[in-house]
Amino acid sequence: MLHGGHLLSVLIFFPAVGALALMMLRADDHKYIRYIALIVSTAEFLFSLLMLRYAHVGDAGYRLEEFAHWIIQPPINYHLGVDGISLFLVILTTFLTPISVLASWKSIEHRVKEFFVMLLMLEVGVVGVFLSLDLFLFFLFWEVMLIPMALLIGIWGHERRVYAAVKFILYTMAGSIFMLVGIIWLYNATNTFDLPTIQNMLATGLLALSPRTEMLLFLAFFVAFAIKVPLFPLHTWLPDAHVEAPTAGSVMLAGVLLKMGTYGMIRFCLPLFPGASHRAAGWVALLAIIGIIYGALVAMVQPNLKKLVAYSSVSHLGFVVLGIFAFHNISMQGAVYQMLAHGISTGALFLLVGMLYDRRHTFEISEYGGLATPMPKLAAFFLFVALSSLGLPMLNGFVGEYMILLGTYQRHWQWASWAALGVILSACYLLWSYQRVFFGEITKEKNRALPDASAREKWILVTMAVVTLWMGIGSVFITRRTAADAQAVIDQVEPQRPYEAAAPANPGQQAARIAPGTTNARSVERSGTR
């Protein structure tokens, strides 16, 4: 059954089956509930790795496509497919879910069953978003995912959880309802919801939108995605949602939910509305750069550790948007890479902040100080993750940011120079907060006897650290699989521009060069996988 045929459907619905199984259990069987959730989400992760077998290095396009008619009038199809870009986002999702389950092992004590059901349902929605090739189906998963996330924040969050949950859901719905109008409008022009078909119509000139229509449609989609990313000035829901969410909620939110926005831009905004994307690029880049600098500056002055990490997300996602709208192969790949890297390192930061919260029940930086003495291991992990987040070479954050800046620089050196400020600022706020939390004298008596990382926490952190390091040094594994599809997006948005050879000294670029269908490269890669 798992022989390719319905792998994507299995990926989407397996967690739902797991959630259904959990619902059958008695509510007070906490131990079994946790183990089943862990087993289901780990199995899902392993399933998702099977997709790697089908990802051909070097050629763009969708793999493992599944197609079935669903609704006849209007023609809505169950159309799934995966390409290099969505492939790793799905794997990121399935990777972070078991991590989140483990992170909630002890900290979730009431309504345990519902919690894990919601976590698995969230996974269903997110994986569905990444795999849908039908606009309607995409919208459906996009909306369905809201409810579990809002409940995760609203039921298991901290003091102002209800406010944060409602704000989160209203912001997202406000964007998505206009996207729905946009989708219907597009349907009206094309008579189909099928993404590849629409792309084909655009390529062959069957569909030609007037500049005004194209811009309005672009905005209808873009605003929905920009809210999700979140792009300045639509970011105000994010700090609230993050601060109030439980640790697992923050990990999923920062790790994968924000990426749905940038993924949507790559998958829909650019290929479907190339002209409007071009005309809007300058403004989008401006907002992205403001987001990068503003997010970093606000993060610097945060007294609340979790809010600091939340604002750092605004800054990092600004890089991603900038990389996308620079329309350059390297920056596009960098954006995809940064999405993955941010998922891992910010996810890890939230996990660490959550571990501190489990011990002291506060996020205030002033409540900590000198923690390196009672808990050296946790401090070491925190430093490692903070360094990866600020972009230390050899770790994952560096690759993405470097590629984005490199690619952007070749198009608009001004954009790149402003954005580079963000790299500096991120070092400031992360190291400064690290210093205030872990170094210096212990000022609060309570902090003196805090326990160091438990075995479970060490497992989580070691896993995250290994992935961080691997992504830093083995980035070619990912970039060579995303290269062709990133180029395909660039080709669609700028058909007039031939392939550009850029400066070497960049892993992604080299991969893109080797890429075109060379069999030996593929076989080398296969062996590398094992």
Partner: protein
């Protein structure tokens, strides 16, 4: 058609109405002789179900009946089945309610059956005076049903308001018929095809008909009665009001469009404005409500507004030929179906949780419901999410088809206004879900034992909840049926 004696087929075409009236009369006759309450519930259940089943027979005999007074076609079949199902479910939900409130049963069911028959007439009427009879049958029964809790002041107020304003609206409707007759020399819709659209008299008559029906569907600015009437009426009756008469009145409006081209030319801007006013009146009103019944009443107004958006699309598209308008008709029908299921289920839950004397209707009574009664909270959430229009529920497709109709007919502004309203709506539906899932129950609410849900009520909830999900995942059968080209018989 010219023969003076009605044929057997004619009687088949009104079979549902005959059955509903017959069982209603039977209930009244038996009332002095039978003391057993369950007997009447069973009788009403069989009666409503028989009428709904009878609609299949009338569908087997399509065509104009009784010299063109009524029209049996796929359209009337759809609405007969819809109001019939609504009536069956209201009977099931009302049984435990009437027992709890110690209200007489036989009269209640008789009135319910008469009201249903009236709605049936409205759905198949092809002649304005026949429609008027249907409207009066359903309205007069509704007035009495609204005041059925005689010892409650609110119920009395509800009935009085409904009656006074309702008869005023009916007068408009009747006067409109008279003017239309004056302009065209006929009251039969199918003979108005060639009516002169420029005639002032016809315009005046049509606008009065629109006012009369606008009242029945609670379109702003004729919506003032809705919250008070919905709040005061016994909750199962409120469930009926929100699902049945509204669907029937919309059915008549649709039929007028489908048969009289003059109406479509004239009504476009009227519907545009009505739709916008109604959506905003409903949604903004609902934002500040603290009583669940009033909240749902305002939400009813808002949803009438969404349906009116589809009407604006119908009028806009009908100019371009009927084939294009079919999608907009389908949007209305599907929306009414999804909406009826959801409102019925939601009011049933409200009715059951209200407790004796309908005391617990405040939103605060729903705080922490998910911990006290998780299944009820989950089912109510399904309804609310469907009202909100979230995917995998029927409400989503309903809204989706209306959006599509609006965009198809280039009513982008209307679509955008509807989108804005959907977001306002999301806020107050979510507020209820937030209360149920994210707040702790008040001390006294936590002390109360969970409210029992009898079997019949559970059946209502199961049917409506499963229907909501089913039509949200698999709308194909319904859509195929209502998109058929012969929806209106021709």
């Amino acid at each position: 058609m010219n023969s003076a004696i009605p044929t057997t087929a004619d009687f088949y075409r009104v079979l549902p109405e005959l059955l509903w009236c017959g069982f209603g009369l039977l209930a009244m006759f038996l009332q002095p002789f039978v003391r057993n309450r369950h007997f009447f519930t069973a009788l009403a259940f069989i009666g409503t179900l028989a009428g709904a089943a009878g609609s299949f027979l009338s569908f087997r005999n399509p065509g104009a009946g009784f010299y063109g007074l009524i029209q049996a076609d796929a359209f009337s079949f759809f609405f007969h089945l819809l109001v019939g199902t609504v009536a069956v479910l209201v009977v099931l939900a009302a049984g435990p309610y009437l027992d709890r409130e110690r209200l007489p049963v036989a009269e209640f069911y008789a009135l319910l059956l008469f009201a249903t028959a009236g709605m049936g007439v409205l759905a198949s009427a092809q002649e304005l005076l026949t429609a008027f009879i249907g409207l009066e049958m359903s309205s007069i029964s509704s007035y009495i049903l609204a005041g059925y809790r005689r010892d409650s002041l609110k119920s009395g107020e509800s009935a009085m308001k409904y009656f006074l304003l309702g008869s005023f609206a009916t007068a408009f409707f009747l006067y409109g018929i008279a003017l239309v007759y004056g302009a065209t020399g006929t009251t039969r819709l199918d003979t108005m095809v060639d009516a002169d659209a420029a005639s002032t008299l016809l315009k005046l008559g049509l606008s009065m008909i629109l006012i009369g029906l606008g009242f029945k569907v609670a379109a702003a600015p004729f919506q003032i009665w809705t919250p008070d009437v919905y709040e005061g009426a016994p909750t199962p009756v409120t469930a009926l009001f929100s699902a049945g008469p509204k669907a029937a009145a919309f059915a008549l409006l649709l039929r007028i469009f489908a048969t009289v081209p003059a109406a479509t030319h004239f009504w476009f801007w009227a519907f545009w404005i009505l739709a916008v006013l109604t959506m905003f009146a409903g949604n903004l009103g609902a934002l500040v409500q603290t009583n669940v019944k009033r909240l749902l009443a305002y939400s009813s107004i808002a949803h009438a507004g969404y349906i009116l958006v589809a009407f604006a699309a119908v009028t806009s598209m009908a100019k371009g030929g009927r084939s294009e308008a079919a999608a907009a008709y389908a949007a209305v029908l599907f929306y009414l179906l999804s909406y009826a299921l959801v409102k019925l289920g939601a009011f049933t839950i409200v009715s059951q949780l209200g407790g004796t004397g309908e005391k617990n209707l405040s939103l605060d009574d729903y705080a922490g419901l998910s911990q006290r009664q998780p299944v009820v909270a989950a089912v109510l959430s399904i309804y609310l999410l469907s009202l909100l229009g979230l995917p995998v529920t029927a409400g989503f497709f309903g809204k989706f088809y209306i959006f599509k109709a609006a965009v198809n007919s280039h009513l982008l502004w209307l679509a955008v206004l509807m989108a804005i309203n959907s977001i306002i709506g999301a806020y107050y539906y979510l507020r209820v879900i937030v209360l149920m899932y994210m707040r702790e129950p008040s001390a006294e609410a936590a002390a109360v034992a969970p409210v029992g849900f009898p079997l019949t009520v559970n059946i209502v909830l199961a049917v409506t909840a499963i229907g909501t999900i089913l039509f949200g995942v698999m709308p194909n059968p319904v859509i195929n049926f209502i998109l058929q080209p012969t929806l209106f018989g021709r």
